[in-house]
């Protein structure tokens, strides 16, 4: 049994767990950066920048659901190929859109047709990361924009009274204080992000859902050394437990961070901490 669970195929399910963690690890900071950029842009003094930020945030309210995920991957893929096509094959005559087909020249194919397997896989993974980052970045921007407005006005006015410039006020007063207001929203977003990872399966990346279906399926003695019945139930149970544990750990860690951030803040949480200590 122990031997069976360490066969080559099973190693790939463990790697795919790492894929999921990697996706989370890469996406979360990028999405946060996107969100920070979006929120800062929405507060900007320069009108076009402000419009851009507001539009980006408005996506959150407007279009719901997996539609994003199904749409962005195709759109990004086609956009990249279109740009490469324009640059690499300037003397191509035929139209790119032929009915329902999207035709570009061989050199513009992304990834190249003769590229090794791993390039294809990491290209798909990269597209997934960008898609997740764009979608969750918009959500994060919404949260951070709200948090920046929640910082008490008096704090900013005091900073101005001390002679700080716009730039200084933003980085020294607003940014350090906004996190406590942003954290509930951000931690909610993190939970949603964790639960969105099985969607990788829909995007065509060979993730844990894919492997659980593959490996759990009935094995007959003819094709494998380890025949077993339908074990998919157990594989999915393992996935379920994995996600539950992950959520639980995140909850605990985020709780810790929250209590650290709250200390010394002018909120009711900070007040409660002061009273408890006294």
């Amino acid at each position: 049994m122990a031997c069976y669970l360490t066969t080559g195929k099973h190693m790939s399910i463990y790697t795919s767990v790492l894929t999921v963690l990697l996706l989370l690890g890469i996406t979360a900071p990028i999405a946060l950066a996107f969100g920070f950029g979006g929120a800062t842009a929405a507060r900007s003094q320069i009108a076009p920048l402000r419009w851009f930020g507001k539009t980006y945030i408005a996506i959150v309210r407007g279009v719901p659901d997996i539609a994003f995920f199904l749409f962005f991957v195709i759109a990004l893929d086609q956009a990249v190929e279109y740009l490469r096509h324009k640059v690499l094959c300037p003397d191509w005559e035929a139209p790119i859109r032929q009915g329902n087909d999207f035709v570009v020249c061989q050199a513009a194919k992304m990834p190249l047709g003769n590229a090794p397997q791993w390039v294809h896989e990491s290209y798909g993974f990269g597209l997934a990361v960008v898609t997740f980052a764009i979608v969750f970045g918009a959500f994060a921007a919404n949260v951070l924009f709200g948090a920046m407005r929640a910082v008490p006005k008096a704090q900013l006015e005091t900073a101005e009274a001390y002679g700080m410039s716009q730039h200084q006020t933003f980085w020294r007063i607003l940014v350090p204080q906004m996190w406590v207001y942003a954290l509930p929203g951000l931690s909610n977003l993190w939970m949603v992000l964790i639960k969105a990872t099985p969607l990788l399966f829909l995007l065509g990346v060979e993730d844990i859902v894919y492997w659980a279906r593959e490996l759990g399926g009935t094995k007959t003695p003819r094709f494998t050394d380890y025949p077993h019945g339908d074990w998919r139930m157990w594989y999915f149970l393992a996935l379920l437990v994995f996600y539950l544990l992950f959520t639980r750990v995140s909850e605990i860690v985020l709780g810790r961070i929250m209590s650290r951030l709250t200390s010394g803040q002018a909120t009711s949480g900070g007040e409660a901490q002061r009273k408890a200590a006294a």
């Binding site: 959150v60 309210r61 279009v63 719901p64 659901d65 997996i66 539609a67 994003f68 199904l70 329902n100 979608v135 959500f139 949603v192 639960k195 969105a196 990872t197 099985p198 969607l199 399966f201 829909l202 859902v209 659980a212 279906r213 759990g216 339908d230 998919r232 139930m233 999915f236 149970l237 996935l239 379920l240 996600y243 539950l244 959520t247 639980r248």
Partner: protein, 268 residues
């Protein structure tokens, strides 16, 4: 063939009434509209039944979670955590294979492997857990004065719950609950996409939409039709829940009434 004929043939195809064979060529817009709309019957069925049953379980779970006795509180907390802490996608897969295994133990579980019951059970538990969390939050934010007033009037136990706590809880939770309902209807699209197989090609709207997308190689027609139907469904849900919201708030002055704010969620 006229469009009326198509509607007659395929209007109830998703529940097995009408033409047996799906159209194989010459897909008209009418075909797509009719079949995808016919699939919506399933989405409405899943959403409506799960929501109605889930409402009662959610109330019970919320009361349990707010209980001071660990005997009631712990199981409710665990139930809510179990269904809110894991992706619905995985829950569907797991439930399907669980029921498949149980079927071989006892024939009682036979109907559970079909989508109409098996997927319904998952959606029912799932929406109950999510709504219970919303109700629990509302339960905690009932103004202290309301309960004290109920005590002063000599209300206790069941009558205090029925006349004071429950209506107030519903009123406070309603905007959140509306979003949950909309979201539940949207997640019914996952049923045939994950796990549960469609029997005799009787699928939901997304099933037929992907059928057309596969056959015509053109996703830009069936998916917008699907989106159109879902937007329609969402509008119906919003207006019905808006009516209930109005009734729940009818004793309050105009300016303190809670408006329903639409906050689309991403995924569960």
């Amino acid at each position: 063939m006229s469009c009326l004929q198509t509607i007659e043939d395929y209007g109830l195809r998703a529940v097995g009434i009408g033409e047996r064979l799906l159209p194989r060529e010459d897909f008209t817009l009418c075909h797509q509209f009719t079949l995808i709309g016919s699939g919506m019957i399933w989405n409405v069925y899943f959403g409506l039944v799960a929501l109605t049953l889930g409402f009662f379980l959610a109330t019970a779970l919320a009361m349990g979670k707010a209980s001071s006795r660990a005997l009631f509180r712990k199981p409710c907390e665990w139930f809510i955590f179990l269904f809110r802490g894991s992706p619905l996608f995985i829950q569907f897969f797991f439930a399907y294979f669980l029921f498949l295994n149980l079927k071989s133990v006892h024939p009682f579980f036979e109907p559970f492997t079909a989508a109409w019951l098996g997927a319904l059970v998952v959606l029912f538990f799932n929406t109950a857990a999510y709504s219970a969390e919303i109700f629990y939050g509302a339960l905690l934010s009932i103004p202290k004065g309301d309960i004290e007033a109920a005590d002063a009037y000599g209300l206790s136990g069941w009558s205090r719950f029925k006349r004071v706590i429950w209506p107030t809880m519903l009123r406070l939770a309603w905007p959140g609950y509306t979003n949950e309902a909309i979201f539940l209807f949207q997640s019914t699209a996952l049923v045939f996409f994950s796990g549960f197989p469609a029997w005799q090609q009787r699928g939901d709207a997304l099933y037929y939409a992907s059928y057309f997308a596969d056959k015509t190689f053109n996703p830009f027609v069936p998916y917008p039709i699907l989106a159109f139907y879902f937007i329609l469904l969402t509008l119906v849900v919003i207006s019905v829940f808006g009516l209930v919201n109005k009734r729940l708030n009818r004793h309050l002055p105009q300016n303190t009434r809670q408006k329903i704010r639409l906050r689309p969620n991403l995924i569960r």
